[in-house]
Symmetry: C2
Subunit: 369 residues, 2 copies
């Protein structure tokens, strides 16, 4: 698997005229070689020439964490009194066109730029993004496992098995976090819980607000699956809303338009359609009901080893969807001071049509507890 | 508090000849203005001119998360179809000397470099690191609260209240993680559990290995305190080892040298001593017993809003300690294939001498469960 990816990356580097690819923290590295850099001040860096052997520079005390893959890279531990930036620069040598991992700390890029004054730099995402956006069968299987895990939690939420009324948003968020770990994830990425008027803030930070009867509770949560050492985890991401008691007719009506917008966008997500067109489909449905003014974010994002990656379903992204793309479809409406709602599933684009990985009911569940 | 920090930063920028400071993801931003950027692909960036008003560029859908501080910065939300890099570059204007936040994604730095071809770049850490390294009274109080929290967990570990034998490292790690959240942290940063020969890997990733009777269990764990919105959390970090049954004489002897090295290093950590000298003190004690060859990492790291920050207690860091510095003192020995041990406390350097924030017993606890 990793050898195949390496070949695809080298081919893309050749096409782009890139001499060396460098990867540090973030998910490109585990996707490509199965090792995740610790996000700390000690530099971890893969140096991958378009031809020639790759070298993985790792702090000596982290070398035992590396599952070695000699056919793919050579491990080079650096000790506490060595200068890893100098070692990496030496490994790069005279290469002039360098693609740097998108999430690499600027501090290391600036230090490398000082040592390699003739180099030209570009973000590695332009090469890796399109490759990572097309999932293979195993990746889809892991994304399905991740989705099935959070589906169980969403069903528990709809069934009233997760107490809401009288608890704070933060308490419910912590509860969701524990459940995310119980259903096969190794890491919680986020667990947004937004009640009432807080649901009008799409990225609300759950706080001390107590959930009361008669309001919407928006829950958007996901994690990264736990995998054997040397294999990257894959992400889940789902949003469902429940109402603590009977919802007012106005909300029911708006929510029903939202569900329609979400469904139509999912149906549109077939190979060949431009990413922005899928966003447009949902936006048009909301617009017909006067709700598009409250839909203040893009329709969705790709998902894989990263919670957010290519392709982005957003106005301006003309790129057509391809079979193997996996992404969220998550329209919402957010009315400041009043309420908000969002429905989100992960969907895989396939040759036989869109395949939603999340299968939890879209109807607005009414919970009494 | 934030206004004072801003003044100190502007003064340091003036001394360093820096026109503009830019901060994105990482802990510099919450330290300086109380807001933490979401580590996602939508750019958050503070643009702070050496004189003139600071601007905080935030994705429009995250604007409600910002606790506004108009006296410190102006919030500028950007919508999904705007180009935040262009907006930031325009805000920077003709400035030529720019300090970029150490953890800012390289992708954004490269995009800004393309738009600002005349600018000279340096890592912001050279300006902010020394300022952040000197804690004020409130910061020491928060670090003490964080340390007292994990102290309770370490005592439970030593008292045998946390079952070890028969559980996997990963299970014990998850248990420590839950406890970290219970004692006042909002986030778990790490919970290393390394049994037997795995304790010889300083950054061991806890796995499926079952803990057995008659072996060392090294536990190194910490989190970030939960604070009110708009205030940054502070980090804890502690390491204790226990033995599941009576330890062999050889281990007891080595451990006793380690405890001596740790104690002497703590006592040496007074204002004026070079950071590397404190490392040297511990290394010399271990060397006298022939153990220094197995002490393969630096003695310690600063701690605050970041789990690792200035000052680093490492050979080559000639900078003298100052009152207000807070750092770990964590010597260890790691004998491959056999066992390892580490003792770690957080210590604050004060004018009246070193003040350990962790006060849990250093003796090797023997646990039976």
């Amino acid at each position: 698997m990793f050898s195949q990816r390496l070949e695809r990356v080298r081919t893309a580097m050749g096409v782009a005229g890139v001499d060396v690819l460098m990867l540090s923290v973030g998910s490109d590295l585990p996707w490509l070689v199965g090792y995740e850099a610790m996000p700390l001040e000690r530099l971890t860096m893969l140096v991958l020439p378009v031809d020639g052997r790759a070298e993985l520079f790792v702090p000596a005390l982290e070398v035992p964490r590396v599952l070695e893959r000699p056919e793919i890279f050579r491990v080079r531990g650096w000790t506490e009194t060595e200068d890893p930036v100098a070692m990496v620069a030496e490994s790069v040598g005279a290469a002039e066109s360098i693609a740097m991992g998108d999430h690499t700390w600027s501090r290391f890029l600036i230090q490398l730029q000082d040592r390699l004054p003739r180099a030209r730099w570009q973000p590695a995402g332009s090469i890796l993004g399109p490759l990572r956006a097309v999932k293979d069968a195993r990746e889809v299987e892991r994304l399905q496992a991740a989705a099935s895990g959070v589906d169980r939690i969403a069903r528990a939420l709809q069934n009233g098995e997760i107490p809401l009324i009288g608890r704070t948003e933060a308490e419910v968020s912590a509860d969701l976090g524990r459940r995310i770990l119980e259903v096969g994830h190794g890491k919680v990425n986020f667990a947004i819980v937004a009640a009432g008027e807080n649901a009008a803030s799409p990225h609300h930070h759950p706080g001390d607000r107590v959930i009361e009867p008669g309001e919407v509770v928006l829950c958007d949560f996901g994690g990264t699956t736990a995998e054997p050492q040397g294999e990257p985890g894959y992400c889940s991401d789902i949003t469902r809303c429940v109402y603590t008691g009977e919802p007012p007719a106005e909300f029911v009506e708006q929510y029903s338009v939202l569900a329609d917008a979400q469904r139509q966008a999912v149906e549109a997500a077939k190979p060949g359609i431009a990413a922005e067109e899928v966003d447009r489909v949902a936006r048009d449905v909301l617009a017909a009901a006067g709700l598009d003014q409250w839909f203040i974010h893009r329709l969705g994002h790709g998902i894989g080893v990263d919670a957010h990656e290519d392709p982005y379903l957003v106005s301006g992204n003309h790129r057509p969807l391809e079979a193997g793309n996996a992404f969220s479809i998550e329209p919402g409406f957010y009315i400041p001071g009043k309420w908000g709602a969002r429905i989100e599933d992960i969907v895989v684009c396939t040759d036989v049509g869109p395949r939603p990985l999340n299968t939890v009911d879209h109807a607005l569940a009414v919970v009494e507890g």
